[in-house]
């Protein structure tokens, strides 16, 4: 970490003040049955998100960040067993009928995925696709839906929107396609948007544009955002709170500024250290941890990160540490947490 930065300085992030939580996830567990084995993809995830705020779920492939969000959306296959609770504006979503869930999904909660071309219909014009999304959620006539589609394209700042209405997905660049996907997601004026690696496939300049766009839209529409990413840099720039996941568990959770100033969990530190940074001179060796994430069907008895952890002791290999609040608002799951860098 770059030391010296005062950690207690609160910066006005422009989001509305926190009120009661919009989304409350409690002890969420997701198991998959696969060939007689049970894979625990998400293991006791809890977080709360208020109106207008941004939460980042950070982790590597297989850490459970995407599965947990699909569980919230009710988008998991029948082979998945979901338990725990997901409350949206106080209403429990788990166990809702498909019909009731469908009404929530799209209307109140929308999701944007990594690959925009897979979310778009290649044989339908852009305008028709957005208009369709508009009419699913609102009883308006075709003309009104088309007007709203144009409005949405303007909202996501697609260049020459009038012309784009009549084009197909393949005529747009990756960044423009992602704007269209976001326009469709916004058609129902959702209260919560889940962006799953929404900028990962995009170039760095386009990524910056889309993230700025999401942030502006969030302010304009008072929308809460869950951003799922492998990129701690993106989380540092855009999230109010960060949850770091490893092997299906939340291993560290804190307001962004607090987390980056006082990293406690050795896994979070390893992630931060391993990111190449432009501030470092070329050929600086990256501090690495050996090994790779554990098999979710054969998790070690203790802490799942223990086999790779530089701080690990016997206790870590025997008993998994609980995620507990160690300082105000900051939780970590570690018996031997990192100290602040001097």
């Amino acid at each position: 970490m770059s030391g010296g930065a005062p950690a207690d300085v609160r910066v006005e992030v422009g989001a509305p003040p926190a009120t009661g939580p919009l989304l409350e996830v409690g002890d969420l567990r997701v198991d998959f049955r696969h060939g007689g084995r049970t894979i625990r993809a998400v293991n006791g995830l809890s977080y709360a998100l208020s109106v207008g705020r941004t939460l980042a779920l950070i982790g590597e492939s297989g850490s459970g960040k995407t599965v947990s969000s699909r569980a919230i959306m009710g988008l998991l296959p029948p082979s998945a067993t979901v338990s725990g609770s997901v409350r949206f504006e106080g209403e429990e979503l788990l166990g809702l009928s498909d019909k009731a869930m469908r009404r929530r999904r799209g209307a109140d909660i929308a999701m944007v995925f990594q690959d925009p071309s897979r979310s778009l219909n290649p044989t339908m014009r852009i305008g028709a696709q957005i208009a369709e999304a508009v009419r699913v959620h609102a009883r308006v006539d075709r003309a009104a839906a088309r007007d709203r589609a144009l409005e949405l394209l303007k909202l996501v700042r697609l260049p020459s929107p009038e012309q784009r209405l009549h084009e197909y997905a393949h005529q747009l660049s990756g960044g423009m396609r992602q704007r269209v996907v976001i326009a469709i997601a916004l058609a129902s004026k959702p209260r919560l948007l889940i962006a799953d690696e929404a900028t990962t496939a995009l170039d760095v300049t386009t990524q910056a544009q889309i993230m700025e766009l999401l942030r502006d839209l969030q302010r304009q529409l008072g929308m809460a955002l869950v951003m799922i990413s492998h990129d701690l840099g993106l989380a540092a720039s855009f999230a109010d709170e960060v949850v770091v996941m490893y092997a299906g568990r939340a291993v560290e959770q804190a307001p962004t500024r607090e987390l980056f100033a006082h990293v406690r969990m050795p896994y979070t530190k390893a992630l931060l250290d391993a990111i190449p940074r432009v501030e470092r001179p070329p050929h600086t060796p990256l501090p690495v941890v050996a090994g790779r994430p554990p098999d979710l069907a054969a998790l070690p008895a203790g802490c799942p990160f223990a086999p790779r952890c530089p701080n690990a002791q016997d206790m870590c290999r025997e008993t998994a540490p609980p995620l507990e609040e160690g300082s105000p608002g900051h939780r970590w799951a570690c018996w031997y947490p990192c100290e602040d860098a001097a």
Binding site: E167, Q209, M211, P282, H283
Partner: protein, 336 residues
């Protein structure tokens, strides 16, 4: 370019690569000007990084170096031999010390083969040694990339993780004892901890085996991590080429400035990726690129001259060249 006593390992001059595309379904046909008049050197023992966005021509440039396909114009001298114009056996021989590692290791490894055979294959193709000697060499290179031959030798690609498969691809590239390895987004699909392991492996191999790399990636921080010098490409042309440290600290080209401003920093106290300092819009089509400087349609510094005259690469600092009529002055590029 700096005057250097000995000839560079790889020397590309005025390389041009174009593809004809047919118009269909509303997509305009024409000639894609994928790489236009690009010149650069890779010196013995150095890593030259190439950064650019999708469609900048960086991958096409790599393939043009390998003659796959042969560039439309220009020369590519490798170890003193111009590869353009060589055919069949002679091209294979000349290219033997030039290997490539791609982004998707599973796409470049035959799923039916075992690790041992995959790594041995280049030796068989070039008819190197006896079966015994080849097996010995395979064990050596697997060891070099940190994979125990007794554990992994008999596995097939699907029994490997992404990081392991990429190590096998690297081992394959090493078997023929190359002088230069072209890495095209070679770590981009790996998770950050595995990516760091593989990056460190590349660095270690460079020291131990005296390798040179042409290291292509869209991630600027990643490229800086491994590079001595860095080239920036935009829409098929070279914008800037200079020492890594200087180019990132004091970039001359407005496009380089924009790229650097777009990187999110893993430090919440650092200024947020500056969208206003970055550029708006998308790159134009390489089928009908803008006249003059190709970046001018998105450039905050563009003037009339930029539309008329193609900027030539010129050296503004030691070993540091830029193709821009109105380069950013030193000390004004980034906020103090």
């Amino acid at each position: 370019m700096k005057a250097n006593g000995d000839e560079p390992l790889l020397s590309a001059r005025n390389v041009v690569q174009e593809f004809v595309v047919r118009g269909h379904g509303g997509v305009k046909g024409g000639v894609v000007q994928a790489v236009s008049d690009v010149s650069f050197d890779v010196r013995a023992g150095e890593t030259l990084g190439v950064v650019g966005e999708t469609g900048s021509g960086k991958s096409t440039l790599a393939r043009s170096v390998l003659q796959a396909p042969r560039p439309k114009a220009g020369s590519v001298r490798f170890q003193g031999t111009d590869l353009v114009g060589l055919k069949g056996r002679r091209l294979l021989e000349a290219r033997r010390s030039l290997q490539m590692v791609f982004q998707d290791p599973f796409g470049s490894l035959d799923p039916k083969w075992r690790v041992f055979d995959l790594v041995e294959e280049p030796l068989v193709a070039y008819g190197v040694g006896t079966r015994q000697e080849r097996r010995q060499r395979v064990r050596e290179v697997l060891d070099t990339v940190g994979m125990d031959p007794d554990v992994y030798g008999r596995r097939r690609p699907r029994q490997l993780s992404g990081g392991q498969a990429q190590r096998v691809a690297i081992a394959r590239a090493l078997t023929l004892d190359p002088a230069l390895i072209i890495c095209d987004e070679a770590v981009s699909s790996l998770d950050v901890l595995i990516q760091a392991q593989v990056l460190n492996l590349f660095e270690r191999l460079r020291g131990e085996l005296g390798l040179s790399y042409l290291f292509i990636a869209h991630d600027l921080a990643l490229v800086k991590q491994v590079s001595d010098r860095v080239a920036v490409m935009y829409l098929g042309r070279l914008c800037e080429l200079g020492p890594a440290e200087a180019l990132y600290r004091e970039p001359f080209h407005p496009y380089t400035v924009a790229l650097l401003a777009s990187i999110p920093s893993p430090d919440p106290d650092a200024p947020r990726a500056q969208a206003h300092a970055a550029i708006s819009g998308d790159p134009p089509s390489p089928i009908d690129p803008p006249s003059g400087c190709r970046f001018r349609t998105r450039c905050p510094r563009a003037q009339e001259r930029c539309a008329v005259e193609v900027p030539e690469m010129r050296e503004l600092a030691p070993d540091h060249a830029v193709a821009c009529h109105f380069p950013v002055e030193r000390g004004t590029a980034l906020s103090p």
